[in-house]
């Protein structure tokens, strides 16, 4: 029963969503739209599970004085202050940014921290490129040559050296690069159809476990 009910729900929902993709029938569309609404409601409820999980883990770490428990205190405090400020602003002014505390946290902590993480990416690209572009064999040598040509074609110095570099860079990007990408996309798309059908038909049931 533990496997049959989820399997039945998966098949029912899968069939209706597939039917909605193909059929113009309004009744099918109505059922599928209703299912989508249910999914949104379930996701909304599931957020409570996530919050409960993070609370439980952090409190346990603080109470048991696990390593780095101080970070958990900061996490819980930040969570509580931001939530209270946001909910209060929304309740009073109908807008989360209607509160100075929330606005301050958003623009002076949340936003710069996110931007910092994203900014780190440029340094990681440099370190990853350094490792990837070492010509250890023919394949990596080819990749290195292609990368040098593309980079030369994309920067002003390459264009100043010769007209050939931008043309060559474009050719590499449009012909071999696109061909490779399309091959991967086609394979992956067929894979998506295969996985989707296997899940809907109940052939793929690894995620249910408990056999």
């Amino acid at each position: 029963m533990k496997r049959k009910i989820p399997f039945f729900i998966t098949t029912f929902v899968g069939v209706f969503m597939t039917a909605k993709f193909f059929l113009k029938d309004p009744s099918v569309k109505a059922v599928a739209d209703e299912i989508e609404q249910w999914a949104l409601i379930i996701v909304g409820f599931a957020i409570v599970l996530g919050v409960a999980n993070i609370f439980r883990l952090s409190l346990l770490a603080i109470v048991r004085r696990k390593p780095d428990w101080q970070y958990k205190v900061i996490l819980l405090l930040s969570f509580l202050v931001t939530s209270i400020a946001g909910f209060t602003a929304f309740a009073i002014k109908g807008d989360v940014f209607g509160n100075n505390v929330f606005t301050f946290i958003f623009y002076n902590a949340y936003f710069p921290l996110g931007a910092t993480m994203y900014g780190l990416l440029s340094f990681y690209i440099a370190s990853a490129a350094f490792r990837a572009f070492r010509a250890k064999n023919i394949e990596s040598g080819l990749m290195l040559s292609a990368a040098i040509l593309v980079m030369l074609g994309r920067v002003p110095i390459g264009m100043a050296l010769s007209d050939i570099f931008p043309k060559l860079a474009n050719w590499i990007m449009i012909v071999p690069n696109s061909a490779g990408q399309r091959g991967i996309i086609m394979g992956a798309t067929i894979g998506v159809v295969a996985v989707g059908l296997k899940i809907i038909l109940g052939i793929e049931r690894s995620y249910l476990r408990g056999e």
């Binding site: 599931a46 991967i184 086609m186 894979g191 996985v195």
Partner: protein, 316 residues
């Protein structure tokens, strides 16, 4: 005696084929094809008219521009059931080795030897993303292995629905492995919904808990390289798998093994070796060969007959 009768048969066949080739030369075939070009043209325009008529009539019932998708699905289903019958008869289906999946056992083994945890990131999307579902199909295999070897499996999630599913999968896998006492629900964690906060939190886990093996399977965006580089810096063996084209180069550059595109969707079948799942992979392979043949034939014929090209464009 048997040998002589076979040799006689071969010689006889040789003469028959030689005579056949003499009578119907390639030149003659090409001339005949050129002569019948106009009738082929007529036939194609006739089929085009029938196709258009069918689409016109069915337009009120279903989206006719999506008919090609339905055709692919039907072709896939047909091939799938044929191959499933074949596989259930006990006949072996050939699959090439996928190094990234073969390395899973090796990576978990390494974590066991070092007595350190395995980190499994099931992507950053929700369950409405097929890559997450594909990842959740691989998670039971990894969880069962870690349960057998009695090492912790840390699963950080960005989505609370994925959290619930992962928790259940890991629990069931530990039960199936008979190691319920080693299941720690605190290791399946919800971190945050925010993309870069999640990235920072996973990076923190890598640097503080020092997992020996990092497995990234699912849908990833710009955080892929940050995760993979942090994992590299912490000295972990890393296996990544995604069908997000833009992130593949980053994983290839920073991880030890990368499972690319379709390999990722085939992973669950490859690991379980179940005939029904393997038949699905083989059917997808045949569908790819079929599409490739259509491309090649279309290119060749389109050069000679623009009508055929029109017909193909109409269907696909």
């Amino acid at each position: 005696m048997k040998f002589f009768s076979r040799a006689h048969f071969v010689v006889e066949m040789f003469f028959i084929v030689q005579e056949f080739l003499r009578q119907i030369s390639i030149k003659k075939i090409l001339c005949r094809a050129w002569e019948t070009r106009s009738s082929v043209k007529g036939m194609l325009s006739f089929f085009s008219r029938i196709w258009n008529y069918l689409i016109e009539k069915s337009d009120s019932i279903f989206y006719s521009d999506r008919l090609s998708v339905l055709l692919y699905i039907c072709a896939f289903m047909l091939m799938f059931f044929l191959l499933l019958r074949h596989a259930r008869k006990g006949k072996k289906l050939f699959f090439r080795q996928i190094p990234g999946l073969k390395a899973l056992d090796e990576a978990i083994g390494r974590a066991t030897e070092m007595g350190k945890p395995v980190l499994y990131v099931p992507g950053i999307d929700g369950v409405d993303e097929i890559q997450t579902l594909a990842s959740l199909n691989i998670l039971p295999y990894v969880a069962e292995k870690t349960a057998q070897y009695q090492i912790p499996l840390v699963v950080p999630t960005r989505d609370s629905v994925v959290l619930s599913i992962c928790e259940e999968i890991v629990r069931q896998s530990y039960i199936l492995a008979g190691k319920t006492e080693y299941f720690d629900r605190n290791n399946v964690r919800y971190l945050t919904d925010e993309q870069f906060a999640f990235t920072a939190a996973v990076g923190g886990i890598m640097l503080r808990e020092k997992p020996a093996t990092n497995i990234y399977l699912g849908s990833f965006y710009s955080e892929s390289l940050i995760l993979a580089e942090t994992g590299f810096a912490s000295g972990s063996i890393q296996i990544a798998g995604t069908a997000t084209i833009a992130q593949l180069p980053f994983f290839i550059a920073a991880c030890d093994y990368t499972i690319i595109g379709e390999e990722f969707y085939a992973a669950s079948a490859y690991l379980s070796q179940e005939p029904s799942l393997l038949a699905g992979i083989k059917a997808a392979d045949f569908l790819k060969i079929f599409l490739l043949l259509i491309f090649i034939i279309s290119i060749c014929v389109a050069v000679f007959s623009p009508e055929f090209l029109k017909f193909i464009t109409l269907i696909f």
